[in-house]
């Protein structure tokens, strides 16, 4: 099992969700986060006072899939989240040791 952590543009969330649904991936956790990579922030001006805003709003998507489906899911997320501009985000992949469904003690891939 692999955990995919994708940090994407907030306005791409709906598209990514729809694309994942289309290939049968249902479970995910979404968090609103702030951060930046190579993308520069922007300036805000209030009565002449300038503020540099470098931590920008992003959305973090976490999902765990079977190792067999990993590449397919990565392709789906990148295709849906890509604009081709700086700031599109990143995907990190982790190994997952175990998954347990709390409702009925299912373990492993059946718990996904």
């Amino acid at each position: 099992m692999k955990k995919i952590e994708a940090i994407i543009q907030p306005f791409k969330l709906e598209e990514v969700k729809e694309a994942l649904k289309a290939i049968g991936v249902d479970g995910m956790t979404v968090t609103e986060v702030r951060g930046h990579g190579r993308q520069k922030g922007h300036n805000e001006v209030y009565r002449g006072q300038e503020y540099m805003v470098d931590l920008l709003p992003k959305v973090k998507l976490e999902l765990v899939v079977s190792s067999a489906r990993l590449e397919e899911v990565i392709k789906t997320v990148t295709a849906a989240a890509r604009t081709g501009k700086i700031g599109d985000g990143k995907i990190f992949v982790y190994d997952v040791a175990e998954a347990i469904r709390i409702r009925n003690d299912d373990r492993g891939e059946t718990a996904l």
Binding site: E44, V45, Y46, R47, G48, Q49, Y51
Partner: protein
């Protein structure tokens, strides 16, 4: 007598007179008929004037709460939203009590050209009968409560200068003393009978101030500058971001101020007259032109017309038109407003950052600067065409260039009284209860440290 019956008596009288006039006309001699009709006419005018003045008083109160409370609190950081609102709101209570005890009497008593006396101590003798010197067609109690609303908003304006770092107790003590030492004497000098600058009631140096350019905006604006300098900058000013936490609140607040200002300026006609209409129109035109002036300057300076710039410009225009409102034509109001938009933009955005003081919410840059500009321009544009009480001519446009000199004199006294009075009172308050919160409390925010509450609890 109860409070209700004080107000009921003239109403019953009016009704009685109207019935008497109608039913007795047939049986009366012509003289008696004329007398009865005269009384009925006077009663009708009084009813109309009183209705407008009570409405105006309510509108001016609305400027402080929620108008100014929203305008200011949107400009501070989230942790200070309640503390900032409270600094405006508390004046609605504190200034009212001070006004009842002695404030009204010091402002509108008649002892000297500089301050009144204690003839109206505890509002003694201030009831349903008009005071013919000030407003002959409305109960003196209406006049008193209308003026009270000005005494509430003026110290509340100062709070913008020391936002996010003033102790609540220090703020209450300072503002209370400030009302008695700075505001009431200045109101007496300009509007009180026999006051030094009173243009219509025996002042020796007539300075035109229709609704409070000197009394309200210069005194509060200059005092604000002194407060900002005395208290010093907020912790982290210039290095940490101090963005307005909700410009949405500020826009709502500014719009309420704009509407409330009709009571402030048109109400200063002290009746539902053509002069009230003229002041209403000038007020609106001044605000509109200043909004455009500020936005134009801002767009040329930094490329974008900001919402905060728009509402700041509107307030600057309302401030500048205040002393002129009952004296100038709509065209002059447009000119004064536009000039105020440009001038206050320069003061707030360019000069302040060069001088480096932390007038947090620009109480000086808007009220001090805009008030001064308006007071001087009143000496240019005041005309007896608009206000027939200007029997000797108004300002420069009426060929009376000397009026500008008087306007400078009134402005200078307001500056000096505001600056010196504030400095002395700050020192005393600092010694007695302290002014500035501890560094820890400042970091925590006034909401929690002063009031034990939070403005936004999104979890609950």
């Amino acid at each position: 007598m109860t409070r209700m019956s004080v107000f009921k008596t003239p109403v019953l009288n009016n009704l009685f007179l109207t019935f008497a006039a109608a039913s007795a006309l047939a049986a009366q001699t012509p003289d008696e008929k004329i007398k009865a009709l005269e009384s009925a006419v006077a009663a009708a005018q009084s009813a109309g004037d009183n209705a407008w003045m009570l409405t105006s008083a309510a509108l001016v109160l609305m400027m402080t709460g929620p108008g100014l409370a929203l305008f200011y609190s949107g400009l501070v950081r989230r942790k200070n939203v309640l503390g900032t609102m409270m600094q405006s709101f508390i004046m609605m209570a504190v200034a009212t009590v001070i006004w009842a005890v002695a404030g009204y009497s010091i402002a509108f008593g008649e002892a000297t050209p500089y301050f009144g006396d204690l003839r109206y101590f505890m509002l003694h003798g201030v009831g349903a009968d008009p005071n013919a010197d000030y407003a002959g067609t409305i109960p003196q109690q209406t006049f008193m409560v209308f003026q009270l609303m000005f005494a509430i908003i003026t110290p509340a304006l100062i709070t913008g200068a020391f936002a996010e770092r003033m102790k609540f107790t220090g703020m209450v003590v300072f503002c209370s003393a400030w009302l008695l030492v700075v505001y009431c004497p200045m109101a007496h000098m300009v509007w009180g009978k026999g006051g030094l600058f009173n243009a219509f009631l025996g002042g020796s140096l007539p300075c035109l101030d229709f609704a409070g350019g000197t009394v309200v905006h210069i005194t509060s604006g200059v005092s604000a500058l002194v407060c900002a300098l005395y208290l010093g900058k907020r912790k982290g000013y210039g290095s940490e971001p101090m963005k307005p936490h909700s410009l949405v609140l500020s826009v709502i607040g500014a719009c309420l101020l704009w509407v409330g200002w009709f009571g402030f300026n048109a109400g200063s006609a002290l009746g539902a007259s053509g002069l009230a209409t003229s002041a209403f129109v000038a007020t609106h035109f001044g605000a509109a032109a200043a909004t455009l002036g500020w936005l134009l300057a801002e767009t040329m300076h930094s490329g974008k017309p900001s919402v905060l710039g728009g509402i700041s410009g509107a307030v600057a225009g309302l401030v500048a038109i205040t002393p002129a409102s009952g004296f100038v034509t709509p065209t002059a109001a447009l000119i004064i407003g536009f000039a105020a938009g440009l001038f206050c933009f320069f003061m707030v955005v360019i000069l302040k950052s060069k001088l480096g003081y932390d007038d947090s919410l620009d109480a000086f840059g808007v009220h001090g600067a805009g008030g001064t500009l308006g007071a001087i321009l009143t000496g240019v544009f005041a005309t007896k065409e608009v206000n027939s009480a200007l029997t000797n001519g108004g300002g420069l446009v009426d060929g009376n260039a000397g009026q500008i000199v008087n306007q400078f004199a009134g402005t200078a006294i307001a500056w000096i009284l505001g600056a010196v009075g504030t400095l002395v009172l700050l020192k005393i308050t600092d010694m007695v209860v302290g002014l500035r919160v501890s560094e820890e409390d400042e970091t925590t925010g006034l909401d929690l440290s002063m009031h034990g509450e939070e403005g936004y609890s999104l979890e609950s």
